[in-house]
């Protein structure tokens, strides 16, 4: 038991604890942010390695390297690792690092819970990845874990269910912390409509997380009881319906995809004004657009299941509601472009990634609009067109925004400038290769190549080869990224406090790297 008295020590002079225990018991938002970011990078490389094996197998038609069962395990776990282990923890890490600083607070509002939010994750992923070594291997029914297929899995199934429960607990606690921090820790004068957009988008993301992670928990619980406790939720013989699972899953799943992109909107809305040297165009419309997207995300879920046999009214409602999302998204893209209009632009690496985001995320948005058209979706459903669509929004969308934010803020975090030349190389290598990787998949999908199948008809060979070559190049570019990050942490040109000459925001008023406790005295907000 700890004694309570030592919690009264002087907060101002308290630095990090000594030794490796610092990282286990820390309650500091920067330490925890760093943990999240490092964890996300490891998961990103691990999920990437799985993707490399997938692309290797798909290099040629026929079965070359791995058996189809293992292929299915890889596609399933690749998605779960990238979503729950890569992108989400990366965003939470950025939130941890930046939110308290951006709103002028001393730390996250609930520091101990913050520690737990992170420290559940390594255990959850050990459990999930452990399923590869169990009887029957890892779950292989796709990341959407539809019954009845997923119920036929091996011993890994209950472990996956509990791993998802743990990730959910972690996410909900993290989200509660974000909301409480934003509502309660702002410096005097930092009104809601003065908050940087990254704070706003995370606020709305946290709301979505709290609303839908319990829904996923309920869904996987029903899967668990259907398999082990004789319930009939998803079995027609007992009066249930497998389609019910799809409804519940996508009621979680659609807000989830906005969880994966709203923080990206916030990041890009911070970076573009800096390098265009103009304030963000249409700040309040950005806030309202983000809120509308969040609201709409709750009433569009069934566009993931147009082919499942819904009543016509359902098809129409979900089609039109989905198309509505293009309106607030269009507002955002318009605002980003208007911010750049007549700006004094420079193109450092963060800006390159941000512009890459705007262009390529919009491509993903357009293919999303195509998929939203119910009659057309009957053709596209479960083809590589869908794979191309969501990789454009997630890789060149979410992941690009994370890359952009790392380049943008790493001088602040470490006190060292990254190597600009290497950063530019990383951007161009990534951008060329990622398009070689995913663009041909549009054509493959339109021509009818189904997703999640390790073999394909010979006429798809050439595009698949291109895609695999792009994939390997993209993978190598990210190894290069790890090197750039490592090099920056080790040393480099010292960064100034402001880092970027056009930058606006409280994070640039602190030293680089910032003091261990961010704002022990609340800053003045103009």
């Amino acid at each position: 038991m700890t004694t309570v008295t030592d919690s009264h020590d002087d907060h101002h002079d308290h630095g990090p604890a000594k030794g490796w225990m610092r990282w286990i018991t820390t309650t500091n938002h920067k330490d925890i942010g760093t943990l999240y970011l490092v964890f996300a990078l490891i998961m990103f490389m691990l999920g990437g390695a799985m993707a490399m094996i997938i692309r290797l197998e798909l290099f040629q038609p026929g079965l070359q390297f791995i058996d189809p069962g293992f292929f299915n395990q890889l596609t399933t776990v690749h998605a779960l690792v990238m979503i729950f282990g890569g992108v989400m923890p990366a965003f939470v890490g950025l939130a941890n690092w930046m939110l308290p600083i951006m709103i002028g607070g001393p730390d996250m509002a609930l520091p101990r819970m913050n520690n737990w939010s992170f420290w559940i994750l390594p255990f959850a992923f050990a459990m999930l990845l452990g399923t590869f070594f169990m009887d029957g291997g890892a779950p292989a029914g796709g990341w959407t874990i539809y019954p009845p297929l997923v119920l036929q899995g091996g011993n890994g199934f209950p472990f996956m269910v509990f791993a998802i429960h743990m990730m959910g607990i972690s996410s909900v606690m993290g989200a509660i912390n974000v909301i409480v921090t934003i509502l309660n820790m702002r410096a005097p004068g930092m009104t809601l409509m003065k908050m940087p957009l990254f704070v706003w988008t995370w606020f709305i993301t946290a709301y979505l997380l709290i609303a839908v992670m319990p829904v996923l928990a309920g869904a996987v619980t029903m899967l668990l009881t259907d398999r082990f406790f004789d319930t009939s939720f998803f079995s027609a013989a007992g009066g249930g319906d497998p389609v019910l699972f799809q409804h519940i899953f996508w009621f979680f799943g659609h807000p989830e995809v906005y969880i994966l992109i709203l923080p990206a909107f916030g990041i890009v809305s911070s970076i573009i004004p800096t390098f265009a040297r103009k304030p963000l165009f249409g700040y309040s419309s950005m806030v309202y657009a983000t809120s509308s997207i969040a609201f709409l995300s709750f009433i569009v879920w069934a566009h993931h299941m147009f082919t499942v046999g819904m009543p016509l009214e359902g098809e129409l409602f979900f089609m039109y509601a989905t198309m509505l999302i293009a309106v607030p998204t269009g507002v955002k893209v318009f605002n980003w472009i208007s911010t750049m209009w007549k700006g004094s632009m420079t193109f450092e690496t963060p800006m390159l990634f941000a512009i890459g985001f705007v262009i390529m995320f919009t491509i993903g948005g357009f293919s999303g609009l195509m998929l939203a058209i119910a009659p057309a979706d009957f053709q596209y459903h479960d083809t590589y067109f869908v794979v191309a669509h969501f990789h454009y929004v997630l890789v060149t969308g979410a992941v690009y925004s994370i890359m952009a934010s790392v380049y943008y803020w790493i001088p602040k975090w470490t006190g060292n400038m990254y190597d600009e030349k290497l950063g530019q190389w990383h951007f161009w290598l990534s951008t060329v290769s990622v398009n070689v990787l995913f663009f041909p998949q549009h054509f493959l999908g339109l021509a009818g190549m189904p997703r999640r199948i390790p073999d394909y008809s010979v006429q798809f060979t050439e595009f698949n080869m291109w895609s695999s070559i792009g994939g390997f190049a993209f993978g190598l570019s990210q190894v290069f990224f790890c090197y750039i990050v490592y090099k920056t942490i080790k040393g480099g040109e010292k960064a100034t406090d402001e880092v970027w000459e056009g930058a606006d925001g409280l994070e640039w008023t602190l030293s680089s790297p910032p003091p261990y406790h961010s704002f022990t005295t609340a800053p003045e907000i103009k």
Binding site: V4, D9, H11, I176, F233
Partner: protein
């Protein structure tokens, strides 16, 4: 901001990692148990005990800090906002099961009975199945069963929980008016009513399993019935334990009329499980 008003940022949190280990052992053990391992229940027990140890340690630390005046209005606000959003997450968790119930009752069962686009399903797969509620499905899964009536134990349980909500508020009034005795009696009544509720619920389950042949395997009726009431019962148990802690703290002389968020959080939670029960009573038992 002077240092006296500085937000309290604790250091060296060792309970979270203990909790992670406990949670992993509990859930990993449970998963192995489900896979047929015979020794996994020991792992579960160890994990559970570690979690209990963690809660004693963690909450104990927080209570000590609270009693020693570490928390000011800012920290208090954080706890309040955090608790509200935690309860919202719980609302969403129950919403899934209620949503599943509505979907099954208004869509999947009627479709199986041939309504709307279900004509052919009914004709060729489940011929002669007539949609009705409750149902164990066209496959008669789980065999003959009887419905759980609303106006026996469930009605009594409704009364118990509603009364406990009132006694809880009465205890709160006592606390605000600095009437310690009223607080303790009110809380003791609330806790008692809560545990009696859980006891009656167990009685009802045993009635269902032994006399009505109503089990979790009784088609979709049994599934929704036991998962909805089961998760609710679990939440009532948690709420009652929380209130028991508050009772012990009240007897020890914790809380002041102005400052008693621990009590309020438990009371909020209690009212939340109360409201969920009303939904259950109407949609699971009655209609």
């Amino acid at each position: 901001m002077s240092s006296e008003n500085a937000y309290f940022v604790p250091h060296d949190a060792k309970w979270p990692i203990v909790g992670s280990v406990g949670m992993t052992l509990l859930l990993g053990g449970f998963a192995s148990q489900l896979n047929g391992s015979t020794s996994a229940s020991n792992v579960m027990i160890v994990g559970f005990l570690i979690l209990v140890y963690m809660m004693f340690g963690w909450f104990g630390e927080v209570i000590d800090e609270s009693e020693s005046g570490t928390y000011k209005s800012n920290e208090d606000a954080s706890f309040r906002i955090g608790m509200i959003w935690f309860i919202f997450s719980e609302v969403m968790f129950f919403a899934v099961f209620f949503g599943a119930l509505y979907y099954i009752r208004s869509f999947s069962v009627p479709w199986l009975g041939g309504e709307g686009s279900g004509v052919l399903t009914n004709e060729f797969l489940w011929n002669k199945f007539e949609a009705a509620w409750p149902t164990n499905g066209p496959g008669d899964v789980g065999g003959e069963y009887e419905k759980m009536g609303a106006w026996g134990l469930p009605a009594i349980n409704t009364l118990l929980l509603l009364t406990s909500g009132a006694t809880c508020t009465w205890a709160h009034w006592g606390l605000i008016a600095n009437k310690r005795k009223q607080l303790i009696i009110g809380l003791a009544l609330t806790v008692t009513l809560g545990f009696v509720f859980v006891g009656l619920q167990m009685l009802e389950y045993s009635h269902g399993y032994n006399e009505l042949n109503l089990t979790m395997g009784t088609g979709v009726y049994g599934s929704t019935f036991y998962l909805l009431t089961g998760f609710h019962g679990f939440h009532v148990t948690v709420g009652a334990i929380m209130l028991t802690v508050m009772l012990v703290r009240s007897i020890k002389g914790h809380f002041t009329p102005e400052d008693h968020f621990g009590f309020e959080a438990a009371a909020w939670y209690w009212h939340f499980v109360d409201v969920v029960w009303l939904g259950l009573f109407v949609f699971v038992y009655w209609l």
